[in-house]
């Protein structure tokens, strides 16, 4: 009978002492004057409201001033690449959902198109239009989450609720199309899994009409709020050449002024038949490449995505929603590297096939993995209160950092 206050033990279970890698690394800084300051090593641990997932950032600070910010990742590593070498091509689609779980349609799309390129399959026209529609709607949903959580990081609680209110309607549309609200597995190899239900096109159009005036509401509430601007403008400036050198992609790269969007650079699907602009940060509130620019690029991208969806809905042809793909897919031996433009950047798949139903090597290049690597360089000489601003504007999702 266990007594009150006794620890609960499982026989044979040995819980090791937590390894503290940083004991002894705190040092005292002797400055020239008589003032002796002490550096603090602070752990913004895996559980923290503003690290957007299980990210651990080791901060070495001098008071509020950050001297070094080292991200430690791997808390969400689920061995997706090893699993990819043990399951068949069709069976891997649900695993791609879980990379960037806020943009599952886009992840499915990247994987499906990589395998299609490897196996030489062509998706029918209707499938391509449906893919564009759901991918762009998912981009809007993902940017709404970023908008809400960025406001939350900055202390404005209301944009979160407003963003999720709109996102609920998108999730309703997705639920009607494929049955799931977050991890869809809807876009598969050869097309989409099922056709859109009756009335879906009309409801998607209604959603776009409802959504259009909301952007102005978001701008009035958060984007042009003076306190928000003071918190984010001129914070975490990434120059364009450093952005390209570090392999950043997506709104983070475009926020630094680089006009690079895979949908225009290497158009696939039907993007070359749709009209839209690339949104670039212009340094309206501060320097080009600060956090406000990265945030505002996403707001503008929501407008552009709505535009794309409207055109695609109007041009949606009838026909097959999926090409004929054998259940046991055996692509010819070879390899392919394919990237698409996700809401967070460029998600790339490098697939090596040896002719068997199971991939030989499947590597996923997560956009947030590359985007996060710039944290140490950007966070130098910032204040502690700037770390949530920078992390929120880079908008990492740990699922695709760790895979």
């Amino acid at each position: 009978m266990r007594e009150h206050g006794q620890p609960i033990t499982t026989p044979g279970l040995v819980i090791p002492d937590p390894v503290n890698y940083d004991i002894g690394r705190e040092k005292v800084v002797e400055t020239d004057s008589d003032l002796r300051t002490e550096e603090m090593l602070i752990n913004m641990g895996p559980q923290h409201p503003s690290t957007h997932g299980v990210l651990r950032v080791m901060l070495r600070t001098d008071g509020e001033l950050i001297l070094e910010a080292t991200p430690h990742i791997g808390y969400l590593h689920r061995c997706a690449e090893k699993i990819g070498e043990n399951v068949q091509y069709h069976q891997f689609v649900p695993y791609t959902d879980r990379f960037d779980y806020l943009a599952a349609m886009n992840n499915n799309l990247a994987y499906a198109m990589a395998v299609e390129k490897l196996a030489g399959i062509e998706a029918p026209k209707r499938a391509q239009y449906i893919r564009v529609i759901v991918a762009e709607l998912n981009r809007i949903a993902s940017h709404l989450v970023m908008f809400g959580t960025y406001g939350l990081d900055m202390g404005a609680f209301t944009p979160f609720i407003y963003g999720f209110r709109e996102r609920e309607l998108i999730l309703d549309l997705f639920e009607a199309a494929c049955g799931a609200r977050l991890t869809y597995s809807y876009v598969t190899i050869g097309g989409v899994r099922e056709d859109l239900p009756e009335g879906w096109v009309r409801k998607a159009g209604e959603f776009l009409d409802y959504f259009q005036p909301k952007i102005k509401e978001y701008n009035d509430l958060l984007s042009y709020n003076q306190i928000f601007i003071k918190r984010t403008a001129n914070v975490g400036v990434i120059p364009a050449d450093r952005a390209i050198a570090y392999g950043l992609s997506g709104p983070v790269l475009r926020g630094s002024g680089v006009k690079w969007d895979l949908r225009k650079a290497t158009p696939d699907l039907v993007y070359d038949q749709l009209e839209f602009d690339i949104c670039v940060g212009e340094g309206r509130m501060g320097q080009v490449g600060d956090s406000w620019d990265r945030y505002f690029v996403r707001i503008l991208e929501m407008v552009q995505s709505a535009r794309i969806v409207r055109q695609a809905l109007a041009k949606l042809p009838s026909g097959d929603y999926r090409a004929k793909v054998p259940r046991l897919l055996k692509p010819p031996p070879g390899e392919v590297y394919y990237e698409t433009e996700n809401p967070r950047g460029q998600l790339g798949f490098y697939i090596v096939s040896d002719g068997s139903p199971v991939p030989y090597r499947l590597k996923a290049r997560g956009p947030s993995f590359c985007n996060l690597s710039i944290l140490n360089e950007v966070a130098k000489d910032c204040l502690l209160g700037d770390i949530p601003a920078i992390l929120g504007s880079i908008d990492v999702v740990m699922g695709e950092v760790d895979r």
């Binding site: 404005a156 209110r165 409801k203 204040l383 209160g385």
Partner: protein, 417 residues
């Protein structure tokens, strides 16, 4: 020191006992009720702004019993003290935070008759006792033995100590204009109509009202100055290691101070317990002692809660400032403004004689102030009206209402033989 106890005529207990009974029977429930109502109302106001409902179920009518229910739950929580925490200081900190709030309440007049402790220097007493609250916060952060709590406590110390200066100066300005340091006496000078309110006496007092309000936001650690408890950065800052009833003490202290500072703002600037039309003053002069006192008390409670509503409104709209921006706002904006107000108010009474010039200025400022107030009320009303309308337009067509094309006629079903 304790005066005006003669409103309980049929008891003849010793004064100190009467005072103690009134404290326990009236003021302690009052501060608890204010805090519990404040918590419930904050949830309702935040829900309103965020197009949700807030508590709706506990207690049937709009979840009024949510606060007592939360209190019961927190009472039953395990009392955790971190192993490495400084136990005596850890235990002391919540009380150091709550007691000044409670003590400040006793000098607040509720009307001409309902003044528990009528000190001739009640303004100075109030200011001093509210400054004790920062001790409790720093102690909590230090005794928790956690770096995050320490960060919250450090920021809190910087912020509140800096904002005490504009706060104090803004308290001095109406005291200067009224010529007395007693809260009750300042309040008594504002009867007789909207133009008599101290905020409208001269432009420096008008600006000083806003400076005082912003300084109270910082003193209550409310957005946009809620760094010490910034949830998304520091996970509740200085009270991160507190749970259960100890945490309730901090929470109560916050809402109590919110109410007290709003009441002080009303007392000093916004007409104390007098209504805008001069009715209460007329009732007092005409001899309706009890009814004017009760109506006056009601009026000041309503005014204080209006200011609390504005504080909540700001919290759910604005992001928070970084610590260096908080301090630069204080030192570079509020402090010079407060000094200018003090000098200006002092010179005003010397330069502008009482007469038609003074009256004209008062009426002008009254018009400006009322116009601004009505503008904001109009914004609120318009938002409420458009929301009722907008809901019907923004709901998308439900699935079952979308016309579905008839499926092509299939083969006739086989009839049962």
């Amino acid at each position: 020191m304790i005066a005006h106890i003669d409103y309980i005529p049929f008891f003849s207990w010793p004064e100190w006992l009467e005072g103690l009974i009134v404290m326990i029977a009236v003021y302690l429930p009052f501060v608890c009720l204010v805090a519990m109502f404040g918590i419930w109302w904050e949830r309702k106001v935040s829900a309103d702004i965020q197009s949700r409902h807030g508590p709706m179920r506990t207690g049937r009518w709009h979840g009024w019993a949510q606060s007592p229910a939360d209190g019961l739950k927190l009472l039953a929580k395990e009392d955790l003290i971190p192993v490495a925490a400084d136990r005596p200081l850890f235990r002391l900190a919540p009380y150091l935070s709550f007691v000044p709030a409670f003590a400040a309440l006793v000098v607040l007049p509720f009307s001409a008759r309902f003044i528990f402790v009528d000190m001739p220097i009640s303004v100075v007493f109030l200011f001093g006792i509210l400054a004790l609250e920062v001790l409790g916060v720093i102690l909590a952060g230090w005794a928790s033995n956690s770096k995050w709590a320490l960060y919250g406590a450090m920021r809190e110390a910087c912020q509140i100590v800096s904002y005490e200066i504009p706060l104090g100066l803004s308290i001095l300005v109406p005291a200067l204009a009224a010529g007395t340091l007693s809260l009750a006496a300042i309040g008594e000078q504002q009867g007789g109509g909207l133009h008599q309110w101290l905020a409208f006496r001269n432009p420096f007092l008008f600006v000083s009202c806003f400076v005082f309000f912003i300084a109270t936001l910082a003193d209550c650690k409310r957005s946009p100055f809620d760094l010490p408890e910034s949830e998304s950065e520091l996970v509740a800052g200085y009270h991160v290691e507190y749970s259960g009833m100890r945490w309730v003490m901090f929470f109560f202290a916050e809402y109590a101070v919110m109410y007290i500072l709003s009441a002080v703002a009303c007392m000093l600037y916004l007409g104390a317990w007098y209504d805008p039309f001069g009715i209460v003053l007329w009732m007092e002069k005409a001899g309706y002692v009890w009814s004017s006192a009760v109506i006056g008390a009601g009026i000041i409670i309503v005014k204080a809660f209006t200011l609390v509503y504005v504080q909540m409104w700001l919290r759910w709209t604005l992001p928070r400032l970084r610590i260096d921006q908080v301090l630069s706002t204080c030192v570079k904006v509020l402090l010079p403004l407060a000094c200018v107000n003090l000098i200006g108010a002092a010179l005003w009474s010397w330069l502008v004689p009482a007469g038609w010039a003074q009256l004209a200025v008062q009426v002008l400022l009254t018009v400006i102030g009322t116009g601004g107030f009505l503008f904001f009320v109009g914004v609120l009303v318009r938002a409420m009206l458009s929301r009722r309308q907008g809901l019907r337009l923004t709901l998308l067509t439900p699935w079952h209402a979308i016309p579905v094309a008839e499926p092509p006629p299939g083969p006739e079903p086989a009839s049962n033989g």
